[in-house]
């Protein structure tokens, strides 16, 4: 053998080995289908525990289309890579998970693999659910398998090439999936460990509240630094002391359970359904979440107050125009004399997270879309102004509100942001 042919042979073997390794990584076996578990398979206690797990995991939020049956899927999730439709997780055999064994369900939550072996997109937060305990997974399974089966097939995903080729997700998983249940930290108490499990695992808070990198993974070292989801800013969860009134445990618990914190404001946008789920779980769970969140704070420079630039901003033409709009459109509820300010501990806009945020995004979203009725849950209703005000008028209002209620200096490029946010909303 010449040295050249030896090199070629060695190269061939290396390529074959790499291909074999890639194939092993990408190929997952199907697990045998089962007949749907019979009535009475799961005892009431397990189903009840499962209801709590499923609420803490917010499963219903993504797995229910607007106006659709619970857990029957079909909700479009807009990602930078295209649109993914949430799947049907009711126990329907043909279109849902009726033929999934507990083993298959567990593999999906821990490894992101469907029963038939195809890899699931990480819009399904298995990188977080993998931290769940076996007991919680079994309880969630018992709850979901005893829901009403709904025959519903989600529309086909519309993803850009090559991401529509699922086996490639295996390589994404190598980078971002670290499978396995959470191991308790013995140096911390039980409540903290419970909170960490709920925040990092089941609750998958970091999925929205962290910045994403170019391939849709959570940026390493930046967990809870804040992110953007559905056009709304999901605020940083590790800078809770930077609010005009630093968040306390009591305020966090009130916010997560009732959707309103008297020193910060009301839940809106994508947080609204999350907190509606959290209203149904044991208060101890929400207290544990608050305890854990308060333990992950990073030291940040406090935003400087700037009285001179605030005065100047208030006198600007846009703020003056905004003041006129505010007097007719907002003051009835948000003005100092409004009854709404003294009923139900509704905070002044001076405390509002959106008004004090680094960017006007959430204030703009709130004005464009309002906070709709949700059946009897109408406590924090606000009408939408997107149809009656143009971009300049929304921007004028934002500039006025910022100048009149926040000490943190004017926002930049407000009108351009309104145009951008509105365009994004219309495309969704």
């Amino acid at each position: 053998m010449t040295s050249k042919s030896r090199w070629l042979a060695a190269g061939g073997v290396a390529i074959a080995a790499a291909l074999a390794a890639a194939f092993l990584l990408m190929w997952k076996p199907a697990l045998a289908p089962i007949s749907p578990p019979a009535q009475g398979t799961f005892d009431a206690g397990t189903r009840l525990a499962g209801a709590r797990v499923v609420a803490l995991g917010d499963c219903i939020v993504c797995h229910t289309a607007k106006g659709g049956k619970p857990f029957a899927g079909g909700l479009p999730l807009a990602t930078p890579f295209g649109t993914i439709y949430a799947t049907n997780i009711t126990p329907d055999v043909q279109t849902g998970i009726g033929s999934w064994s507990l083993e298959a369900f567990t593999r999906a939550l821990r490894y992101g693999v469907a029963r038939d072996g195809h890899l699931l997109y990480p819009a399904f937060p298995y990188i977080h659910f993998t931290r769940m305990s076996d007991g919680d997974i079994a309880a969630a399974y018992a709850y979901l398998m005893t829901r009403e089966p709904v025959e519903a097939t989600a529309p086909a995903n519309q993803l850009m090439f090559p991401l529509n080729f699922r086996p490639l997700l295996a390589f994404w998983n190598v980078l971002f999936l670290h499978p396995g249940a959470q191991q308790p930290d013995p140096s911390k108490d039980a409540e903290w460990n419970r909170g960490k499990l709920l925040v990092d695992g089941l609750g998958h808070c970091a999925s929205c509240h962290s910045p994403l990198n170019a391939i849709g993974g959570e940026k390493s070292g930046h967990a809870f630094d804040g992110g953007i989801v559905d056009g709304w800013e999901a605020p940083a969860l590790n800078a809770l002391g930077a609010a005009p009134r630093p968040w306390t445990r009591e305020q966090l618990v009130a916010y997560l359970r009732t959707g309103r914190a008297s020193e910060h404001g009301a839940a809106a946008g994508p947080m609204l359904p999350v907190r509606r789920d959290l209203a149904t779980v044991a208060e101890a769970d929400v207290q544990a979440i608050a305890t854990y969140l308060l333990s992950i704070q990073k030291l940040r420079p406090v935003a400087a107050t700037d009285a001179a630039s605030t005065r100047e901003a208030l006198a600007s033409a846009e703020a003056q125009r905004g003041a006129t709009l505010f007097a007719a459109s907002c003051a009835q509820c948000h003005g100092p004399a409004a009854p709404m300010q003294s009923i139900g501990e509704r905070p002044t806009l001076a405390f509002s997270t959106a008004v004090n945020a680094a960017t006007p995004r959430n204030a703009i979203q709130m004005m464009l879309s309002g906070n709709g009725w949700h059946g009897e849950d109408s406590m924090n209703y606000m009408p939408a102004f997107g149809q009656i005000y143009n971009d300049q008028q929304i921007a004028d209002l934002a500039s006025y509100i910022r100048a009149a209620y926040s000490q943190r200096g004017p926002w930049k490029d407000v009108e351009a942001t309104v145009t951008k946010v509105r365009k994004e909303n219309n495309a969704r």
Binding site: G67, T324, A327, A328, Q332, M340, P383, I388
Partner: protein, 170 residues
């Protein structure tokens, strides 16, 4: 001076620019169709059509309207010659106390002008912001269905509705 175009007529009013449109309509133009309900954009009794959109007139300052045309229920017909939607509301006896009705009609009118044949779901979603304290929603929706040429509500809904209208006619 504030310039308003209401029901095709131009007006120049010497009023505060932050005056809500509803106040200008009722107090300065003597158009009393639109009602003051909550003043908070929650009930819809003040609904009028601005530039084709159903809006809460209690929340819009007159200064924000520019040249946008405003239409109130007075533009749809008269007691002698009611418009098609007004006639359907009368035929279905959709009003009980009637306070919400001008708003209901204007919201429905905005939908039907944009989309003369909405689906049941579209009309339900569109009407959601307007509240009726008396609970005549089924008759209000029946009136809208008639003008939209939608089939009557299904049998399960139909029965109590029929009974109710017979009751009203007796």
């Amino acid at each position: 001076m504030i310039h308003l175009t209401v029901n095709g007529v131009q007006h120049a009013l010497d009023i505060d620019p932050s005056t809500p449109l509803l106040y200008a309509l009722r107090n300065d133009l003597q158009l009393h169709g639109a009602k003051f309900g909550c003043g908070l954009g929650q009930c819809g009794a003040c609904t009028v059509i601005v530039d084709g959109e159903a809006v809460f007139s209690c929340l819009i300052p007159v200064a924000s309207l520019g040249n946008k045309p405003v239409r109130t229920i007075e533009s749809l017909g008269t007691p002698e010659r009611p418009g098609p939607l007004q006639k359907a509301f009368i035929d279905h006896q959709a009003a009980q106390c009637g306070y919400c009705i001008a708003g209901m009609i204007m919201r429905a009118q905005a939908l039907l002008e944009r989309n003369p044949h909405p689906t049941e779901r579209e009309s339900l979603e569109h009407m959601e912001p307007n509240l009726c304290r008396c609970g005549t929603h089924t008759r209000i929706l029946a009136a809208i269905r008639e003008v939209a040429h939608l089939p009557k509500a299904d049998a399960s809904h139909d029965k109590p509705q029929l009974a109710a209208s017979h009751g009203g006619a007796q």
